[in-house]
């Protein structure tokens, strides 16, 4: 009788409880991690990472980082920058008209 009560009070074996706790902790980390890997947030992080790596690689390879700067260098760079920006046409590239009801042939709500 006494032995039976003692057995009832014992509950889980300590090792089983520890292993169980470890498994639960592991799953608590694993599930959100796997969900994050499959999320669009992770895609965005990857894009930002690629951009940062490219930027760092370019800076290390082909840029003059030693010669002194003068006012003419800056004036020249302003012209280069203007030229670079002329290749970007935001209003045409990101145009609301692309997904307007009229363009898509959808009824207006």
């Amino acid at each position: 009788m006494h032995g039976e009560i003692e057995k009832k009070l014992k509950g889980f074996h300590p090792i089983t409880a520890i292993v169980g706790a470890v498994i639960i902790s592991f799953l608590m980390v694993l599930v959100p991690f796997v969900m994050f890997l499959h999320s669009s947030a992770y895609d965005t992080v990857k894009q930002i990472k690629i951009g940062t790596q490219l930027s760092a690689a370019n800076l290390n390879s082909s840029y003059d980082v030693t010669s002194p700067v003068n006012a003419i260098d800056i004036a020249n760079y302003e012209a280069t920058l203007k030229q670079k920006l002329s290749g970007i046409n935001n209003s045409a590239d990101f145009n609301q008209n692309d997904i307007s009801d009229q363009t898509l042939g959808l009824p207006s709500n």
């Binding site: 889980f12 169980g20 639960i24 799953l27 608590m28 599930v31 959100p32 969900m35 994050f36 499959h38 999320s39 669009s40 947030a41 895609d43 965005t44 894009q47 930002i48 951009g51 490219l54 930027s55 370019n58 800076l59 840029y63 003059d64 980082v65 030693t66 010669s67 002194p68 700067v69 003068n70 006012a71 260098d73 800056i74 004036a75 760079y77 302003e78 280069t80 920058l81 670079k84 920006l85 290749g87 970007i88 935001n90 209003s91 590239d93 990101f94 609301q96 692309d98 997904i99 898509l104 042939g105 959808l106 009824p107 709500n109």
Partner: protein
């Protein structure tokens, strides 16, 4: 008794994992974006509108999928251009530092550009994600999702436009806000 313990143990695991999984799903699943949009917009379509949407949905899905790819490629190219501009500016900053001239305006410009580039990446990712979600819905059974997705995409496109305009503005203003200060310092 043993079975009761195992069931309790399993329930404890589920009680912990289910909210985690549910919260992760609600944030990430692309199909949820459109269902959420329908709910947010409280959208209901008339029978006629539904018929038009169902009829046009499939060809429009192909068009929107192309638009998504084109927009993603454009954003990528723009970010490359801005990234190389940041490299140019960093190189200038290093050169100025070597000759003992303060180039902190360049640092400020780079910081603002990086922030704006991140905004463009995030806004672009949301916009193209919505276009891709629209392109993969069931046209016959989900015309509401299609229309709600289009409305959502328009709002997200506005954010893309704002972010792109913000970077362009920063660089357009750079000669007066950044370079003129450094030229003054170099000439002094």
């Amino acid at each position: 008794m043993k079975i009761q313990r195992i069931v309790l143990f399993a329930l404890a695991i589920l009680a912990v994992l289910f909210p985690l999984e549910a919260s992760a799903q609600s944030v990430t699943a692309p199909e949820n974006i459109l269902s959420q949009a329908v709910s947010d917009q409280q959208l209901s379509l008339s029978v006629d509108t539904k018929a038009v949407v169902v009829a046009k949905c499939v060809p429009l899905q192909a068009q929107l999928s192309n638009l998504s790819s084109r927009t993603a490629a454009t954003i990528h190219l723009d970010l490359d251009t801005y990234g190389s501009t940041i490299n140019d500016l960093q190189a200038f900053e290093l050169r100025l530092a070597r000759q003992g001239v303060d180039g902190s305006e360049i640092d400020l410009l780079i910081g603002k550009m990086r922030g704006a580039m991140d905004n463009l990446t995030i806004a672009g990712s949301a916009y193209t994600g919505t276009l891709n979600a629209i392109a993969s819905i069931d046209c016959v059974n989900q015309p509401e999702q299609f229309m709600a997705g289009i409305v959502l995409a328009r709002a997200q496109l506005s954010q893309v436009q704002n972010s792109a305009k913000q970077i362009e503005q920063l660089l357009t203003n750079a000669p007066t806000s950044t370079f003129s200060q450094i030229v003054k310092r170099l000439s002094a």
